[in-house]
Assembly symmetry: C2
Homo-oligomer: 243 residues x 2
């Protein structure tokens, strides 16, 4: 099996991404919700009709696309990015099957409608730029973590390809999902995330630390959104997986 | 005195920025030094002669400039940014005197030459994009923290304007620097940073946690670079400060 598909490597990547996600959420939470940045034309921008945050997200992705970000198997854009590149193309070896699966539209909607209200004060503090820049890092971390489901699925498929092939041929999504689910692993992950959220979200020199984000909320974001989205990507990937 | 210049507000902003700086350093440290991203034409980019990281930094700053980032009194670009803006200009009230002081060139050089080798493995792991994107966040956090010295200096000036005016008129940099220095406050800050670095840099669920960055190194970065640079900005600001 290829290095990238060894379960211990996948696991350590996913664990390391937890820090990135928790740090990003804590950074975003220092600013208010600032709803206006998500509203189409909420802040009028010359020659652009979209939201302020989307303007910055799209500009950032265009820039990153120029240096080849979205040719990597673990990167997925939220917006339309140019095919043109300023670097000579790199021949990545793809450890997974090439697929068009990209659930970023759903991630973006959930992030704005569900996650932001969970972590931010429902106010406007005028910090539109900082909020958007932090949104972009957080969304990129979410997207990377969730689409890493493709790697998880490929590793699981290679581990028991006979069983999966049978279910895939029958398009039995329910049974595939059941096979993908390991409640014990999920519970262990949620405990670890909660512990990290407690550790990173506190002001360590203060007598009675107030958490920057309630650790239960970070746990909830994993339980209700990040894990289900990752499993959705795993399922979508497997449904397309044929040898 | 204006809200932004109250010492308790300045203090709480500086303390909050410690998290941002420590999180960014930890994020950057997960990737190797990747020296090639800092070398002019190290990675050839069409129609651009500069380093890979500078290409991304400059593109990011141009994008942020379009939505007015660098018209805010606490934001300073590293690269040349267009005056053109896509938003109607905002009339900020400047709590400090307008000045051209911007020591980002020095911050950038120190960051690449001194700080990166302290926190990253001296290797190349091919993660050029991720390293650069993390460099940009870290540099922006450093720059914000250090140029916040203008606010510190203005607050101190307003607090004892007579004494400072005398020293400023005499251009007595040594005496100004001495007056700006409070060893006790600095030591307390370094202790707090060290404690935060310990807390945020550990893997909390592991028996014998290995720190992602040695907390002593983060303390050293504050002691050797961040504090001296901030004081340099304070001094430069005061030398220009006339009523």
């Amino acid at each position: 099996m290829r290095e990238e598909l060894k379960l211990e490597n996948i696991r350590s990547n996913l664990i390391r991404l937890e820090e990135t996600i928790i740090f990003s959420l804590i950074e975003r939470a220092q600013f208010a919700q600032n709803k206006i940045i998500y509203r189409t034309n909420g802040i009028p921008i010359k020659n652009y009709s979209g939201s302020f945050m989307l303007y910055l997200l799209s500009g950032t992705e265009k820039l990153h696309a120029m240096v080849r970000r979205y040719t990597a198997p673990d990167e997925h854009p939220f917006t339309e990015v140019p095919k043109e590149q300023l670097l000579s193309p790199l021949a990545y070896e793809w450890p997974i099957k090439k697929t068009e699966i990209n659930i970023n539209a759903e991630i973006l909607e959930t992030y704005i409608d569900k996650i932001i209200p969970l972590i931010c004060k429902k106010e406007d503090d005028g910090n539109y730029g900082s909020s958007s820049v932090n949104d972009i890092s957080t969304l990129q971390a979410f997207s990377k973590r969730i689409h890493y489901g493709k790697y998880v699925a490929e590793a699981k498929f290679q581990d028991s390809s006979l069983e999966y092939t049978k279910l895939i041929k029958a398009s039995d999504s329910g049974a595939i999902m059941q096979r993908l689910t390991d409640k014990k692993v999920e519970e262990h992950l949620l405990e670890r995330v909660s512990l990290k959220a407690q550790t990173y979200g506190q002001e360590p020199d203060v007598k009675n630390p107030v958490f920057k984000i309630n650790p239960e909320i970070i746990k909830k974001i994993y339980a209700d959104y990040i894990i289900p989205f990752t499993k959705k990507v795993e399922l979508l990937y497997l449904l397309e997986r044929t040898d």
